[in-house]
């Protein structure tokens, strides 16, 4: 009966199995159906861009951490997720080096300068994408139709020439990962069942767009499926690090994203607006957290 080697640590003495790494790898896994659909529609371009972007993201992270003499933490999977998200948000015809550049910006400017995982205020993939759009406006808005190399200048959201079922399955021009609603929904279901996705954000986001499309006489299906809304609402806006941590805050965040998107799409000079809607709400996240603190149990109740 030796007692001396017993571990003494405070309660709780058991922990949930989930880890940061498992969460990140779940997101990566949920992106696989989307990537598979993109590869089916756009062929090798999908593999080329997503692999380049993911490798560049992980490489930039490792390089930056090594330069700052910090432990290399790319095994946490967060750089992989950022790289995949960025890659899937790019147009199929984009040159590889631009994807690499975007991933580098995403990791270094979007994440590491703020202190790395958990400290970045903005979704890194969207930071990378925003810089690419600003730097290479033409290439970032040149689309190809699926199964061909035919170049077009417009996604269905702008051209308005696609059947509803094409929009659902994804046989339309657009960024790699955003065209197939079916694949995105599949990914969303994976996230939801693994407890990685809070339904409030996508529901608030998409719901707001639907309501305003109806109010302003827009084609709801086009607004929903014709651009990058679905992909953004399921995979980008739900990024844990950059969205609020209170239940009410997540509603506010989702609805806010929807409102900004609607304003940009209906009245702005940009055709899309997804990137900016989410980035703007990212900026408001600390405030939203402060404004939506949950009521503590037993506060504001009267004695019997």
């Amino acid at each position: 009966m030796e007692g001396t080697r017993l571990v003494l640590s405070p309660s709780p003495h058991v922990r949930d199995e989930d880890t940061t790494q498992k969460i990140m790898l779940t997101v990566a896994a949920a992106l696989v159906p989307v990537w598979a659909a993109a590869t089916y529609f756009f062929g090798f371009d999908s593999i080329r861009l997503v692999v380049a972007s993911a490798l560049a993201a992980m490489g930039s992270e490792a390089l930056f951490l090594a330069l700052r003499r910090k432990p290399i933490t790319i095994s946490d999977g967060s750089a992989l997720v950022t790289g995949m998200l960025l890659g899937l948000s790019l147009p199929p015809s984009l040159p590889t080096w631009m994807a690499v550049f975007g991933a580098f910006v995403a990791i270094v400017v979007g994440k590491q300068v703020f202190g790395g995982l958990g400290y970045n205020p903005f979704n890194p993939a969207l930071v990378g994408r925003a810089v690419l759009v600003a730097s290479f406006a033409t290439q970032m808005t040149t689309w190809t139709a699926p199964f061909t190399d035919a170049v077009t200048q417009a996604t269905p959201l702008v051209s308005g020439t696609a059947g509803y079922s094409e929009l659902f399955f994804g046989t339309v021009p657009g960024s790699l990962g955003e065209t197939s609603a079916l694949a995105i929904l599949l990914g969303g279901i994976i996230l939801f069942y693994r407890g990685v996705l809070d339904y409030r954000i996508p529901v608030g986001f998409i719901g707001t767009v639907v309501v305003f499309s109806l109010l302003f006489g827009q084609d709801v299906v086009y607004q929903l499926l014709g651009g990058s809304l679905l992909f953004g609402a399921v995979f980008m806006a739900t990024d844990m690090v950059t969205s609020p941590i209170t239940p009410v805050g997540r509603w506010v965040f989702g609805i806010g994203c929807g409102l900004i998107l609607v304003v940009i799409r209906f009245w702005g000079s940009l055709p899309e607006g997804l990137t900016y809607s989410i980035l703007l709400m990212n900026a408001l996240t600390p405030l939203i957290n402060r404004w939506t603190r949950p009521r503590i149990y037993g506060r504001g109740v009267k004695d019997a």
Partner: protein, 440 residues
Amino acid sequence: MKIRNFRGGVHPEYNKHFTSDKPIKVLPAPKQVVIPLTQHTGAAAEPTVAKGDAVLLGQEIGKASHAVSASVHSSVSGTVVAVEPRPAINGRSVLSVVIDNDGRDAAESMSGHHDPIQLSAEEIKSRVEAAGIVGLGGAAFPTSVKLNPPEDYKIEYLLLNGSECEPYLTADQRIMEEHTEDVILGAKLLAKAVGADKIVIAVEANKPEAIKKLQALAGSHQIEVVALAIKYPAGGEKQLIKAVLGREVPSHGLPSQIGVLVQNVQTAWATAVACRTGKPLIERVLTVSGDGIKEPSNFLVRVGTPFKDVIEAAGGFVGEPGKVIAGGPMMGLAQFDLDVPVVKGVSGILVLSNKMVKQYEPLPCIKCARCVDVCPVYLMPVRIELYAMNGMWDHAEDYGAMDCIECGCCTYICPSKRELLDWIRVAKTEIVEAQRRQTS
């Protein structure tokens, strides 16, 4: 049956199958007992015996010393060999009475009542006080104090807590199944003591046998038996009240303010025994379990029995033990000295193997909000942790640090394995310290 639920909480592996079908076994009294004079929340009892004294089973050896205190009785007959500080489960030295057992169990004359429900409220209260009964769910708050709420609050409900939501523990379940009648009697006595006219017994839905037996006996007594969601901490006092009655205990307030008295089922059993037989609280039922123990069991153990005797009675360790815990895995206290004695508040002894005892390196918070979602008092643990790490005690208090019930759900769930509760405890200590400085 409607399942009563509450917001927040977690689903750890319950692992109750180790012992849920093991009947309560009586553990023989040890050769020597060490009985701490502080086994409860509140002031220590004052010793009424000295070295060399002969004591009888059930004799008072420590007298309640203060408004919040509980008396302590000998769990064996024999001779006092020392009254001195001894290590206790809280890791400190506590003044204790050490008694050599003469093996005769010569008992002090005890006066019971053949039909205790005839006792008046005052008589019940004085018997509970004389028997040194404390909350047996783990917190060990003196029951007699709870039975005397401030005058201006009318107690409407007695809520009997049979949730036993801590993983591994099955002592309360066995008591509900094996001593159903006494549990019901105890509930009625406690309700009578405070003048409550409604009794609700709440049991987690994973104990259907206990629910069935309680219901079978409750029917005739206007006692309601309800099923609780299978979720930790369903048995937390505040969560239980919210789930069953839909009421909230005011922040920093007491359940009596909203007309509720909560008691644990084992406390009710002890109350029934004390009123019927006059026997004070000198033994309790606890669960010995975990993957590090050979024969997980439910034992009736005399207060003062060393942990190591209880572990031996359960077949000893399997391999190297990693951790020995007094209580359950969510709120229990890790032990290093296995000579510490079982006290009234020990609901279980849990032995986790080395394999189960993992040490984690905290990673950066990824703002997943799981800690916020699981907090059963609706705090933002991650914020309080942040403020505590930065010494911003005012902010920590503003975010409700003092409302934390230390259930451990936040630390349990955090995927980044952050020590949220540890930091919240630091904040609570600092806030109390600052308040003391201010008032003095």
